[in-house]
C-alpha cells in the first residue's frame, strides 16, 4: 500500500478523455515523478489528487482516507502540501510573516479567532519560523517584502512554508518552470536536502528532464491520459515506449 493510491480514475471534459483508467501508487518516503508530453493529463491528475477536480469514476486515497470532495484546506490539514507552478506566496507580507502563517495554520487549524493577542507575543511561532528560515538560508531576508524577491527565492520560501507544516506528501507542480539555470540547480539541491533530512514523500510533475533524473526514484510516464510505464529512472531513460510518446512514431 502506498501513501497515495489512485484507482481507476477517469475524467472526461466533454468529448475529451483527459484521464483514462489511471492507476497510480506512490510509496511512502520516495520521490515519485510524473512526466509526459503536453496534454498528457498531468495537470488534470494533479488537480484530482488535491481534490480540486472530482473524477467521473475511481478513487483517490491518501493514507486510507478519500480526498475526493474535500476542500483544499481540509486536504492540506490532512498532510498534503502543494507547491505551484508560479510560486504562490503572500506577496504583501514580509518573509517572516509568510513563514508564520502556515505555522499558525498547523497549530490552530483552519480558523482561529485570535484578534486581541499581539503577533509579536507568539514567541514559539516566531522561533519556529526563524528556525525554518535559517535552514533555508533566508534568515537575513526575513523583513523583506516577499513580492520583491527573485523567483528562486520565492520558490524557496514557498517550499519552506509547505515544509514548516511537516506534510507527509509534498506535491510539486513544475517547480523549476521559468527559472534561470542557477535557480533551478538551487531548487534541486534544496529538494535533495529535504529528502535527506526528513521522512517525506514527494510527488513531482516536471517537464525538465534534468530535474526529473536528478531527483526521482520512481517515474510514471503519462500519455494521452493514461499511465504508459512506471519504473526507475534508469529503465525509463531507454524505454522505447517513452521515446515514442515524446518523439512520435518515427523516432
Amino acid at each position: 500500500m502506498g501513501i497515495l493510491e489512485v484507482k481507476n480514475v477517469n475524467k472526461r471534459f466533454g468529448g475529451l478523455q483527459a484521464l483514462g483508467d489511471v492507476n497510480l501508487s506512490i510509496e511512502e518516503n520516495t520521490v515519485h515523478a510524473i512526466i509526459g508530453p503536453n496534454g498528457a493529463g498531468k495537470s488534470t491528475l494533479l488537480n484530482v489528487l488535491i481534490g480540486k477536480l472530482i473524477p467521473d469514476t475511481g478513487s483517490v486515497m491518501f493514507d486510507g482516507q478519500s480526498v475526493l470532495g474535500r476542500k483544499s484546506y481540509e486536504i492540506c490539514q490532512m498532510g498534503i502540501s502543494r507547491v505551484f507552478q508560479t510560486p504562490e506566496i503572500f506577496g504583501d507580507l514580509t518573509v517572516l510573516e509568510n513563514m508564520m502563517i502556515p505555522i499558525f495554520a498547523k497549530r490552530d487549524g483552519a480558523f482561529q479567532m485570535n484578534a486581541i493577542g499581539a503577533t509579536t507575543g507568539e514567541k514559539d511561532v516566531i522561533e519556529q519560523a526563524e528556525h525554518m528560515l535559517e535552514s533555508l538560508n533566508m534568515i537575513d531576508k526575513r523583513h523583506f517584502h516577499s513580492a520583491a524577491m527573485s523567483r528562486g527565492d520565492k520558490r524557496r520560501l514557498e517550499i519552506g512554508m509547505c515544509l514548516s507544516q511537516n506534510p507527509r506528501l509534498l506535491l510539486l507542480d513544475e517547480p523549476t518552470a521559468g527559472m534561470a539555470r542557477a535557480d533551478t540547480n538551487n531548487t534541486i539541491d534544496l529538494l535533495k536536502q529535504i529528502k535527506e533530512e526528513r521522512d517525506i514523500t514527494i510527488a513531482i510533475i516536471e517537464h525538465d528532464m534534468h530535474v526529473v533524473f536528478s531527483l526521482a526514484e520512481r517515474i510514471t510516464v503519462l500519455a494521452q491520459g493514461s499511465p504508459l510505464v512506471e519504473d526507475t529512472p534508469d529503465k525509463i531513460k531507454g524505454h522505447p515506449k517513452v521515446r515514442e510518446a515524446y518523439l512520435g512514431e518515427s523516432a
Binding site: F90, G91, E97, I116, G117, Q165
Partner: protein
C-alpha cells in the same frame, strides 16, 4: 504599553491628545475674525468628526485588511441609528442601552448579509453589498413604515414622541439623550481672550468611544487574526493551500466592521435622537469608502484623518457663499472682484463636492497611500529617508529582533 509596541502606543497617544484637545485645536481663529468661519470647534461638527471616524476605522478593518470593498456599510449605520432610537422610545433617554443594542443588531445584520455576500469576491461582492444596502434603504424608507407595522417611520424619520412608553424614564432625568443623567447637550463654554472654546458632553462621550474603537483596531491589526486577514488580501489560493479557511476570517472581519458602523449609527442617534432612512443610502456607503481611501487604506490612522477631512469640507466649505467670497475679494477692483467670485463660486457653497472631487483625484493620483503617505513624504524630507526605507524600518520595529 497596553499590549502595544512603542510606535503604536505613540500613535494611540497622539489620537488621544487630538480627540481630547479638539475643542482647542479646531478653533484656532479668534471669535469675530474673518477666519472664524474656518473654525470647526463646535459640538455638532466635532461629534461628526469622531463618529464618522469610528465608521471609517471599522470599514478599514474590512477593506484595508481583507481588500473586500463593501458598498453597503451605510446599512449598518442605519440599523444602528434605528436601534438606538428604539431604545429611547421604549426604555428612556439613557444612551447606554441604545448604543449597546445598536452594536448588537448591526452585528446580527452584518452576519446575515455577510454570509450571503461573501460567497463572492471582488466586484461581485461589492455589488451584492450595494444591493443589500439599497434593499435596506427601501425597506426603511417605505416598506417598514406602514400604519400596521411602523418600525422606521419612513420619510419623517424615527423619533421619540411624548406618548412613547419610556419605561425607565423618570421626572428627574433630562428629557433629551443623557448618560446616567448627564445631558448629551450639556456644554461648558470657556472664554479665553478673543477665543471661545466649547466642551460638550456628547462630543466627549463619542471621543472616548472613538479612542477605545481605535485602540481595539490597533490590537486587531497587530494580532494573528489581523495577519490572516492581510493574507486573505494578499493571496487567497495560498491561504487555502496552507490549510486555512478564508471564509470565516472574512466573515468575522465583515461582522466586526459592521458592528463598528452600528456603533457609529447609535452614536449619531445618541447626540441627535432622530434616525432617517437617508443614512442608509448608497451615497453614505460611498462616503466611507472615500474617507478610507483619502486617509490611507490599510493604515491605522488614515481613516480617522480621511473622515475628518471630508466632514470638514462638507460643513465648512459648504458654508462659503457669494457674500463671503465678495468680502474676501473686496480688495480687488470691481471687475476683478466679480471675476474672481465667478471663478471660485462653483467650488464652494453647494459646490463643495467639486472641490472634494478634485482633491480626491489629486490624492489618488499623486498619493495612492492617502494622507498617511503624504505625511510620510513630509517626514522623509526632514529625516532624509525614502518611503521604502521608512517602511523597512517600520517592519523591523513591528517584529522584535531576536
Amino acid at each position: 504599553m497596553l499590549g502595544l509596541n512603542k510606535r503604536d502606543f505613540t500613535l494611540l497617544l497622539i489620537v488621544v491628545a487630538l480627540a481630547m484637545l479638539a475643542p482647542f485645536l479646531l478653533n484656532p481663529f479668534p471669535e469675530g475674525s474673518a477666519m472664524a468661519q474656518f473654525n470647526a470647534g463646535y459640538p455638532d461638527l466635532m461629534q461628526k468628526f469622531v463618529i464618522y471616524g469610528i465608521f471609517a476605522i471599522g470599514f478599514n478593518i474590512l477593506f484595508g485588511l481583507t481588500g473586500y470593498l463593501s458598498f453597503g456599510h451605510a446599512a449598518f449605520l442605519g440599523v444602528g441609528s434605528y436601534s438606538c432610537v428604539w431604545m429611547f422610545k421604549l426604555l428612556g433617554y439613557n444612551v447606554m442601552p441604545g448604543i449597546l443594542l445598536s452594536i448588537l443588531t448591526s452585528g446580527i445584520f452584518a452576519y446575515l448579509i455577510g454570509v450571503v455576500s461573501l460567497r463572492r469576491s471582488g466586484i461581485y461582492f461589492s455589488i451584492l453589498t450595494l444591493a443589500f444596502a439599497q434593499m435596506s434603504f427601501a425597506l426603511a424608507y417605505s416598506v417598514l413604515s406602514n400604519p400596521k407595522f411602523n418600525l422606521t417611520n419612513g420619510e419623517t424619520g424615527l423619533q421619540v414622541y411624548s406618548n412613547d412608553p419610556q419605561w425607565l424614564h423618570s421626572a428627574d432625568k433630562p428629557d433629551l439623550p443623557h448618560l446616567f443623567g448627564l445631558s448629551m447637550r450639556a456644554t461648558h463654554e470657556m472664554q479665553l481672550g478673543a477665543w471661545q472654546f466649547q466642551f460638550n458632553v456628547g462630543y466627549y462621550l463619542c471621543a472616548i468611544i472613538m479612542v477605545l474603537a481605535f485602540y481595539l483596531s490597533i490590537r486587531i491589526f497587530r494580532s494573528p487574526f489581523g495577519m490572516m486577514l492581510r493574507a486573505v488580501k494578499s493571496n487567497n489560493t495560498r491561504m487555502y493551500y496552507t490549510g486555512l479557511n478564508a471564509r470565516p476570517y472574512t466573515l468575522a472581519a465583515f461582522v466586526i466592521s459592521g458592528m463598528y458602523a452600528g456603533l457609529a449609527g447609535g452614536l449619531l442617534s445618541a447626540v441627535d435622537p432622530l434616525a432617517g432612512a437617508e443614512r442608509m443610502q448608497w451615497t453614505a456607503s460611498g462616503e466611507v469608502v472615500l474617507m478610507t481611501i483619502l486617509g490611507g487604506t490599510g493604515t491605522l490612522i488614515g481613516p480617522v484623518l480621511g473622515s475628518g477631512l471630508i466632514k470638514y469640507f462638507e460643513n465648512i466649505f459648504s458654508k462659503i457663499n457669494d457674500s463671503v467670497l465678495h468680502s474676501w475679494f473686496s480688495f480687488l477692483p470691481d471687475g476683478m472682484e466679480d471675476f474672481m467670485v465667478t471663478i471660485v463660486h462653483p467650488f464652494v457653497g453647494k459646490g463643495w463636492h467639486l472641490t472634494l472631487g478634485v482633491l480626491f483625484m489629486l490624492i489618488v493620483i499623486f498619493l495612492p497611500g492617502g494622507l498617511v503617505q503624504g505625511g510620510q513624504k513630509i517626514r522623509g524630507l526632514f529625516t532624509g529617508r525614502t518611503e521604502a526605507e521608512q517602511a523597512q524600518a517600520d517592519a523591523n520595529q513591528s517584529t522584535p529582533a531576536e
